[in-house]
């Protein structure tokens, strides 16, 4: 199984500004120290050796994560996604580039919740406009379909939901129940967030991925902590809402519905998880800030590991792929 991150930013898409790109280019030139490169490929090989924040960016699309069970070819394929944030648009474009418009594909989309940043990519998801494609949109909110329809209703968008050409079905799930969907064992879990959100535990052939975004942890109940430890238990990968520092999450941003890197480390350590991915980055954070948080989180994990196996820490970025 492979997890591929198409959108990793919280709340609102962001883009690098011209000044930020210029700053990165200047940094790369300084680090090159006058070296010359014979072609683009050689320059890109060199760029891959530079610090991530110099040569790349964490990206700015909102939540969308693909779980790939088998690499797709040109034939029809079943795709599995978590959330339909703005990262859904480049995902859809990549699918079209791979298959062309005439191959009927199936898309299983598991929705954490219908807040705007988690559905905003859908009107720009080209496969939804193409007859022959099948979309199965899963979630625990009773008003999920209404949220999708409303964002495409006048005057918000020029193409009404009813004009979409694909076969689209909304399927309501119950938290705590186990489902077998698209080759995965799927268990949703209720999370604390305005209007509720749901995390998903995906299991297949001994591998476990947990998608847990937009989830606040109040830290006032050992039972609540233990319930998430069970949800994360033994996971190979935990995709975790680490939008704020702990101090912010329990003070000025209390009840905003998000969590912190520190709580992510604690829950993963208690659960014996193997890889924690910091996700749903605060949109005001620049690349350097996210890299700093990633480094601090690795340090925290090392400080608190004791005799347990190492928990791998990554900050998600648009384009990140993790093989399990």
């Amino acid at each position: 199984m492979r997890a591929r991150f198409w959108g990793t930013r919280g709340s609102l898409p962001v883009a690098l500004t011209a000044a930020e790109v210029k700053h990165k280019v200047a940094q790369a030139l300084l680090l090159a120290g006058g070296r010359s490169f014979k072609d683009q490929a050689e320059a890109e090989t060199y760029a891959a050796t530079l610090p991530f924040t110099t040569a790349q960016t964490f990206g700015g699309n909102t939540s969308c994560v693909e779980l790939e069970l088998q690499p797709p070819g040109k034939d029809a394929h079943e795709y599995i996604l978590c959330d339909a944030g703005s990262g859904l648009r480049p995902f859809g474009n990549a699918v079209l580039a791979r298959h062309g418009p005439k191959t009927p594909n199936v898309f299983h989309i598991f929705m954490s919740h219908p807040h705007w940043d988690h559905i905003m990519g859908f009107p720009f998801f080209t496969p939804a406009y193409i007859p022959g494609n099948r979309l199965r949109i899963y979630g625990c909110h009773s008003g999920l379909e209404e949220a999708f329809r409303r964002q495409q209703a006048p005057p918000s968008f020029p193409v009404d939901f009813d004009y979409l050409g694909a076969d689209i079905e909304f399927i309501q799930l119950e938290p705590g129940q186990r489902y077998d969907i698209a080759g995965l064992r799927v268990t949703p879990k209720l999370q604390l967030h305005g209007g509720d959100s749901y995390g998903y535990r995906f299991e297949r052939q001994g591998k476990v991925v947990v998608y847990s975004t937009d989830s606040e942890h109040k830290l006032d109940s050992a039972e609540e902590t233990e319930s998430f430890v069970r949800f994360f238990f033994g996971a190979d990968l935990v995709i975790f809402d680490a939008m704020y520092s702990l101090a912010d999450a329990v003070s000025v941003k209390e009840d905003w519905g998000h969590s912190s890197n520190m709580v992510g480390v604690e829950l993963c350590q208690l659960a014996g998880a193997r890889h924690l991915v910091l996700f749903h980055h605060e949109p005001v954070f620049k690349d350097a800030k996210i890299a700093e948080i990633e480094a601090e989180t690795r340090r925290l994990e090392a400080l608190t590991r004791q005799d347990a196996p190492q928990l791998t820490i990554s900050a998600a970025y648009d384009g990140l792929e993790i093989d399990l």
């Binding site: 830290l219 006032d220 101090a247 329990v250 604690e266 340090r299």
Partner: protein, 120 residues
């Protein structure tokens, strides 16, 4: 986790010992509650001596945040002192070092809190 309390002039020094995690944070909160309640503009200042604290989790830090949120608007003063290297890093990574003053030693905390010119 144990909590020792001692009063030095107008400063209460609370010294937790051991580890504070999600399993005993509630007990820690109950133990400090009376001292937090009394920490206002007319009451004693509150200094946490962290020299014997081996570890504090997010649930434990939340108790310190609740103490700060209750005492400071009431005119009280709260600080922490002498954290071990590990706990100091936890305070920094969690950004709790921005929530209240972190003194290198208990004496430095006592001196600062005893100084009437330091204000609130």
């Amino acid at each position: 986790m144990e909590l020792n309390a001692a009063q030095k002039n107008n400063i209460v020094v609370l010294a937790p010992r051991g580890r504070i995690d999600h399993l005993n944070a509630d007990a820690f909160g109950k133990a400090v509650a009376p001292h937090v309640e009394a920490c206002n503009k007319d009451g004693p200042r509150l200094l946490f001596d962290l020299s014997s604290l081996e570890y504090i989790s997010s649930a434990g830090l939340r108790i310190l945040m609740l103490a700060s949120k209750r005492a400071i608007p009431a005119g009280g003063r709260i600080g922490v002192a002498a954290p071990t290297a590990l706990v100091r890093e936890i305070l920094e990574i969690s950004r709790f070092d921005l929530v209240f003053p972190v003194f290198d030693t208990v004496n430095a905390g006592l001196a600062s809190f005893a100084d009437p010119a330091a204000g609130h």
